[in-house]
């Protein structure tokens, strides 16, 4: 039931964003609002077992949702810019030292692992290659393995990021 | 301005699709050729209805502007969805043939059928 309500509100939010600027009730017209409610009910009936598969309702708190845009605009974006300059440098000079290393994190929830994996893929010269389903260790391909990193069996997650401590942000959001 | 380059491209695509159908012996490859041929025909129908400098046949601004012809688009629209269903049907034939004969090469199938 909670899953149904959560899916309903999320899909209603998406629908209202899609139809913003259509009328004069706020930004929406009356028929759009009615259709949004009906279609969101249909979506909730279809997709209620998918969105909240883990039955973990910690993310139902709206304050955590508001942190996600802050995370994306703030520390994540800075890291993205740095990573892209790094990739541009390596494309031009071809100075690479690749390898697959193992990174451990103490994140437990699905959303946390997901956000960490996507942040790793998009930011610091690394790509998530595989994930250990039990211990949640990530195997990542690093384009420039740091000196001495190839000898260590496991690297902590915050050692990858130099400018902002992204794992701490993710822990604040998702755990 | 473009002369009739799109039609030439349609002809080339049709020739490539026919070449795949005639010259290749693998059933799945032949069905890829059929889908290319279908796309070529769709592109031909859409290109027939194009007007130079026209806009899409949806009234976002006032009427009385030059609009692209709408009937070809309506015909193509349904044909694409039908195309995927029929290609699924063809591919399931191919899967059944593979189950029965152990190959998807049309020559070998013809020999095995004798």
């Amino acid at each position: 039931m909670i899953a149904f309500i959560l899916t309903f509100f999320l899909s209603l939010f998406v629908y209202l964003v899609l139809t913003a600027g259509s009328g004069n009730l706020g930004l929406w017209s009356a028929s759009e609002l009615t259709a949004g409610v009906v279609l969101s009910l249909v979506t909730a009936a279809v997709a209620r077992n998918f969105l909240c598969r883990a039955r973990n309702y910690r993310m139902a708190n709206p304050l955590r949702f508001l942190l996600i845009p802050v995370y994306i605009i703030g520390p994540f974006f800075i890291e993205v810019i740095k990573a892209n300059l790094d990739v541009a440098y390596r494309v031009i000079t071809m100075r690479i030292r690749p390898g697959i290393i193992r990174v451990s994190s103490d994140l437990k929830s699905d959303l946390g692992i997901f956000m960490l994996a996507n942040s790793i893929t998009l930011t610091p010269g690394t790509i998530t290659v595989d994930i250990d389903e039990d211990t949640h260790d990530l195997y990542i391909h690093n384009i420039n393995v740091g000196e001495g990193d190839e000898a260590k069996p496991v690297i902590r997650d915050h050692e990858l990021f130099s400018l902002a401590n992204l794992p701490r942000w993710i822990r604040r959001i998702a755990e | 301005m473009l002369w009739n380059l799109p039609y030439i491209v349609v002809v080339l695509l049709a020739v490539i699709g026919l070449a795949i159908i005639f010259l290749k012996r693998n059933l799945i490859k032949i069905f890829l050729g059929v889908s290319i041929l279908t796309s070529a025909v769709n592109l031909f129908i859409i290109a027939l209805g194009y007007r130079e400098g026209g806009i899409a046949p949806i009234y976002t601004y006032a009427a009385s502007e030059k609009m692209v012809m709408a009937t070809p688009q309506a015909l193509t629209l349904t044909s694409i969805v039908i195309g995927v269903a029929t290609s699924a049907l063809m591919l399931s034939f191919a899967v059944i043939i593979y189950k029965m004969y152990g190959t998807v090469n049309v020559d070998e199938i013809r020999e095995l059928k004798e």
């Binding site: - | 080339l12 695509l13 799945i28 069905f31 889908s35 194009y50 193509t76 629209l77 694409i80 899967v95």
Partner: protein, 84 residues
């Protein structure tokens, strides 16, 4: 002028991807090239001012056609053997 160049480039890409479908012996690569052909023909419909058809082709060609071909290749075999 630039519109014409874009148009010509997209049409060239269409022909090249179709030729690649003919060329590949690996059926998986041929299916990938066929997916690329679908994407480009959707872009071509978009340029020809047919957004309805472009949505249809994007949904069908981007997702379903490639998926169906991959499933069929998985059900049969991957490599097209050379005909004598």
């Amino acid at each position: 002028m630039i519109e014409t160049i874009i148009h010509v480039l997209v049409l060239t890409g269409l022909i090249v991807s179709a030729v690649l479908v003919y060329h590949f012996k690996d059926l998986l690569a041929a299916a990938v090239a066929s997916g690329l052909f679908s994407f480009l023909i959707s872009l071509e419909f978009y340029i020809l001012q047919a957004p309805d058809v472009a949505i249809s082709q994007a949904a069908i060609g981007a997702g379903l056609t490639t998926a169906i071909f991959i499933l069929a290749i998985r059900s049969t075999k991957r490599y097209e053997e050379d005909a004598p």
